[in-house]
Symmetry: C2
Subunit: 459 residues, 2 copies
């Protein structure tokens, strides 16, 4: 076979040992917290039947799904006219019947429907797996990236929403973040606003415009609202809503006034208040003062969410949202299982990685790394070093003997580049005295230790 | 969108919470041991450039690689003659430039070559990721399955081989297996045999035939050897080798006699002896008596391995090999980096899963599962149960409050189906007395406990 210069497929990444340590730090932190809240892990296959995925993400989304070519003589049943006219779009279904997972939500819906007779409701699951999108790669955007989703289906209780606030808070605090916000909105509030303005049909246009407040300001939003079919009078009604300020209590109070005539709007406010009430009962009313922020401009995934909507942002680093989610009332409807309510949130693991990196928040000593390198001075000493190596490992400590007696400098360089914190120097003198020379790679200090002291120190 | 009845893509599986617990038990056991021996985790992307994978697995392997269709108007540059003649094979390179990982070895080789300036040799890595093959699915064979590979490149020391014997033993013992064998051979021994017979060019034919001894017996092997170009005289020379018996020492002794005239053969024997010597120095000579078995018929991956060859079998369950590996001297040559020696082994996680399942060796209490369900009798009690819930979680215990006050039977059923071992019954009486009723779901026993006692018990 010809020797080729290897490269990565566009938009994909290798993860080195150091990067894996860091990624596992994030995943393990999240998993531990998810489990503490009663969520259990599932996994779904990397590829699904194309028909399972098609039509779930809009036309743009469909284009970004990676399709897998059928095996064998895949052209044999392809219609000649489609081949002749080079009709890429129409030909797909004839040459591809599988596609890579685009997100974790649709496979989860499929899972729930297929296993509905085996699972106890409410079903609380988390899922941390890669997804693939044929996006144009750019800084921070990859064609393969991990999603971390945590959802519960089959429970309408707003206790779940309150717990997601606790989960977000605990996870981000545990990861070392100090200044972040969990933004909260409710789709019913948005419906209420559209109703009060008298234009329920324009709710999507309204929220798309309001969503841009941060970027284009009130004037820009008003201009866009006018273009999208609202009147100057509507803008007057909307103004206090769009410019809502003050504490959460003040915001809710203003909203109650504006939405008093809308049943659905008032229901949305009541839901937000009930979530807050749960958080207070948990003894974490402090979060409502400092972390949680009612944000009426939050409208992500509107076609989808039916109740509370979440979005999480860090204020320590310039970065888009690092998490989000909400309640949906018809997740599994697409697969024929109606009226199953659910709520879930997602953690943007790749963005959180970048944030922790920028803030230097990863643990300096990877728990997964080798703790000790035993220097190999002379293969004749192996009758001493091998039982020693065995004994240290038996104590559960990650340790290596350099596999050959090369120059000391090379062995130290190995320890250094691998981030091994301690090196043990065992020469003839050490073998005779039983006092081993332990070198701390960070400080450069060297001390004599017995085997027992060594194990105690490294444990 | 139309409602469709969902199904899994052929040859793929969902993993439920219970299955994930079990799979994680295997992965975590392996990872802990790999790390203890100084191996660090890496991950490579799920898809690679098609050119990276093509030609590495033989013609049959190439056919089993899942190709990913190019995005967008993928037919635009497809040659019209190939479309017209429906030439599936030749068209592939025009409509697909990416493919799913077929194993972890080739991506690892690519990784080493691409990152050769960043990694310190010897480079010790493990990798646990799914691979995909377009095989016809059957019992125990899937189109998506996990490989667990552990390799070191850049060290010719046979200490590595000895440590793989320790790793296999420790992992399988830790997983609960009691009767298994690690079979050991050396490619150089096989070369020596072919040399002694005077037919070095027939080494592949010879080993393919010898490899079948278990299945077709000596007579069958002889018949096949004759068909493949060996003479009756050759069979006489080969007989003691094929029928090699007794202890490892006896086998090595016979081999030394037969191969005394072959330099390479004697080198192979010396390598096996050196590995044994390392194992003895580790204080684990017992493994050479009970677990490790020199097996001259072992010839897996012959085109590939250049030194020691490993294969692991369990004797407790009817099952193919649950692991294997060996030394290769030119892994990265395919990507232009010559003379980098390596040795590695693999664990068949899916087969090990089946073995543990059949022998009932999975831990009964999944460490990942919810430990306690607090029954929700009345939402009015939530001012009591929510702080309690919070307090128990703060102690690091996985606990849930049933999210609504439905019938007790339903809540108990939930705990039961989710495998939650304890249920806490908190009614008005319990709130007043501070003595909570804790029910053990396995024994059915119920006892009164204070909050402190509860936390102590569950920790």
């Amino acid at each position: 076979m010809a020797s080729i210069k290897p490269s990565l497929a566009k938009g994909t990444r290798d993860f080195s040992p150091v990067e894996m340590d860091k990624r596992n730090h994030i995943y393990n932190t999240l998993k531990t917290i998810f489990r503490k809240f009663g969520y259990a892990e599932i996994q779904t296959p990397s590829f699904e039947n194309l028909s399972t995925l098609t039509g779930k993400y809009g036309d743009e989304g469909d284009k970004l799904i990676f399709k897998i070519l059928n095996s064998g003589d895949y052209l044999s049943k392809a219609p000649e006219d489609l081949l002749g006219s080079k009709n890429s779009t129409s030909l797909i279904s004839h040459i591809s019947e599988k596609a890579l997972r685009y997100d974790l939500t649709v496979p989860f819906a499929r899972y729930v429907v297929m296993h509905q007779n085996d699972i106890a409701l409410p079903f609380k699951r988390f899922q941390i797996q890669p997804v693939w999108r044929a996006d144009r790669p750019q800084r921070g955007r990859y064609r393969e990236f991990y999603q971390c989703d945590v959802d519960v289906v089959g429970s309408s209780s707003l206790l779940n929403e309150a717990e997601f606030i606790l989960i977000y808070n605990e996870a981000l605090v545990e990861l070392g973040l100090k200044d972040f916000n969990i933004k909260l909105n409710n789709r019913k509030v948005l419906s209420g606003i559209a109703e009060v303005v008298g234009k329920p049909g324009l709710i999507v246009d309204m929220t798309v415009a309001i969503d841009k407040l941060d970027k284009i300001g009130l004037e820009g939003v008003n201009k866009e609202l006018l273009e999208r079919g609202f009147t100057q009078d509507d803008l007057e009604v909307l103004k206090p809503i769009i410019e809502l300020g003050g504490s959460n209590e003040e915001k809710l109070s203003s909203m109650r006034e504006v939405l008093s005539s809308s049943e659905i709007g008032m229901k949305g406010i009541a839901e937000i208040e009930e979530v807050f009430d749960y958080v207070r009962k948990f003894g974490r009313g402090d979060l409502l003062e400092k972390i949680v922020e009612v944000d009426i401009t939050l409208a992500r995934g509107l076609n989808y969410y039916t109740g509370c909507i979440f979005e999480v942002k860090t204020n320590e680093v310039q970065m888009g949202s690092i998490g989000g989610g909400g309640r949906y009332d018809d997740l599994t409807g697409m697969f024929g299982l109606k009226d199953l309510t659910g709520v879930g949130v997602s953690f943007g693991a790749d963005r959180i990685f970048d944030v922790l990196e920028e803030l230097n928040l990863f643990p300096t000593e990877g728990s997964a790394r080798t703790k000790l390198l035993i220097v190999n001075f002379d293969s004749n000493l192996e009758s001493y070093t091998l039982p020693l190596l065995y004994q240290i490992r038996e104590a559960g400590i990650a340790v290596e003997l350099y596999p050959s007696a090369v120059k000391l400098k090379k062995q130290m360089g190995y320890a250094d580049s691998k981030g091994i914190p301690f090196v043990l120097l065992v020469g003839v003198e050490e073998v005779e005295s039983g006092q081993l020379s332990l070198k701390d790679m960070k400080t450069g200090e060297q001390q004599k230790v017995s085997i027992e002291e060594l194990i105690e120190k490294l444990k």
